[in-house]
Symmetry: C2
Amino acid sequence: MTIDELDTPALLLDLDAVERNLDRMAADIARTHAKLRPHAKTHKTARLAHMQLARGAIGICCAKLGEAEALCDGGITDILITTELVGANKCERAIALAKRARLCVVIDSIAVAIPLARAAAAAGIALRALVDVNVGQNRAGVAPGQAAVDLARFIDATAGLELAGLQGYEGHIQHVAAPAARRKADTGALDLLSETAAAFRSAGLSTEIVTTGGTGTSGFAAGHAAITDVQPGSYAVMDAQYGAVDGLGFEFALTLSSTVISVRGSAAILDAGFKSLSDDAGAPRLLGGGAAFTFAGDEFGKLSVDGRRPLAVGDTVRLVPGHCDTTINLHDEYVVHRGAQVTDRWAIVARGKSR
Amino acid sequence: MTIDELDTPALLLDLDAVERNLDRMAADIARTHAKLRPHAKTHKTARLAHMQLARGAIGICCAKLGEAEALCDGGITDILITTELVGANKCERAIALAKRARLCVVIDSIAVAIPLARAAAAAGIALRALVDVNVGQNRAGVAPGQAAVDLARFIDATAGLELAGLQGYEGHIQHVAAPAARRKADTGALDLLSETAAAFRSAGLSTEIVTTGGTGTSGFAAGHAAITDVQPGSYAVMDAQYGAVDGLGFEFALTLSSTVISVRGSAAILDAGFKSLSDDAGAPRLLGGGAAFTFAGDEFGKLSVDGRRPLAVGDTVRLVPGHCDTTINLHDEYVVHRGAQVTDRWAIVARGKSR
């Protein structure tokens, strides 16, 4: 079957482009002292995580415990969960997962640390943990410097926890378009993390892992002496939002195939809206250009077509999602293709695993 | 278990509030000549559809064939699909569904009609179809008046199709906040549909079904002589977007339970972002007020807390989603509750059924 014959909307994964993206990032990071720990919050599959590990990644990141459980079921056994785990259910599940995977968690307060420590100690294990440092994103994260050191001391001294270093994700810098401005902003964040890591070492605290970096900044972060590993996710498949960031060099491997169901004047109505394309990072882009997409409801999109590309009912088009992570999270499967040939379907096993 | 003990994020369905919403709409429509054909694109479950049918609904609407298949599997057998079905796969699946349900489709062009007609005729059946009329939403839909009559004649004369009337959804009017302005705008749309229905009758064409109406307009539409049935969806559960529309009187029955995972100054960071709350209709609202929610990424939200409502790590809050349809589509299950007691969990069987 070819991709033009698919029932739509269908989330297409161009495997040749994915492989080139994975190869490129692996080669870029291999030229540095740092390692690659890719984020699976984007692709949400053990299949792609295994491809990343086969290219030298030292482990996999997950944003949610539910993602980590699903990936562990798929054979992924070295997992960093990059979001604080809070609540009795989360503690219990984290301990269960730590018994079957090399798990590491992040902690940004004593309030987060204590329940995890108690659950781990009660189970007779020590849970590996990073101090999560706020390097400017102003989301989770303890303040850099002394506050981070104090929290690290607490973790280091608490039964049930094993301090493994620190995380300082600079998510606010990933989409700065111009490379020079992005590098400059990132250097500020990396310096905060680096200074805090130095303070850890001075205090005799572990800096085995010093992790940060997304698709927009991993090249900079991996070149910084203090950073041990980087955690980009979107580079594997890319999206329109990262397509507007200069200097990355990754290819659009993810598209949504959609069918024209109605035509009126210069507007073609598509069978894909908010329920198959996320809008949190703006509208998708028509692959190859020639028309502008606007959302027209939960199940509808509208293409404003110029004269060069007339569309008729039944035509299919391919859209590059505005944001890969949130669009992938809407779909149960990737339709995998090489060129125009459909070669496989992969379940998105961690889709909807938001707990 | 109580709702405060749930692992989060959890999509909560307040069954008492749902029942009051369903009762209220059923009673409102029962006072008119029109019937209720509620839209399941919102709730995506056979469970809720059966509750609507038990209160007098004459059938159920679906936006997608995949939703209709899932609801038919759950015992729903009278289904109107309100979106044009295009493509060979869709035609084949529609015919298969028409053999096990009383199915009706919508058609807005000859290009949509012909493949459906051929597939139905080849299978030896006549597919019931409405002419889909553009009454101002400017999405799908044939122009009202003569163009609609011409298309109806074509459907009426074509083997494999059985003309059953017309649809003219006024989606662009649903969220006009002021009742008087909403009624005025709706009257214009209803008149277009009514005039087209009159033209059908003059031409001897079926007007067995003349359907329109959403949560914002069903009260007006059901009072219009030409309308046979209305198709509201959101009223069953409501959302913040419809909460800003005056004069509806339905209750918030859908909330997302989320946990505070980090606190910094007046900001509480929640474990729910774009992957568990849609943003296409704006931010969710904190149930009970006292803080403003902003999205802080795929897995994070931020509450700006005022002095009256301090929050600590581990606290749970309940958020009213900005848009119910697209938020429900992110979740695999409803956690059903009465008061604070969790009473059940219902699979959202049509979640992600965007084909």
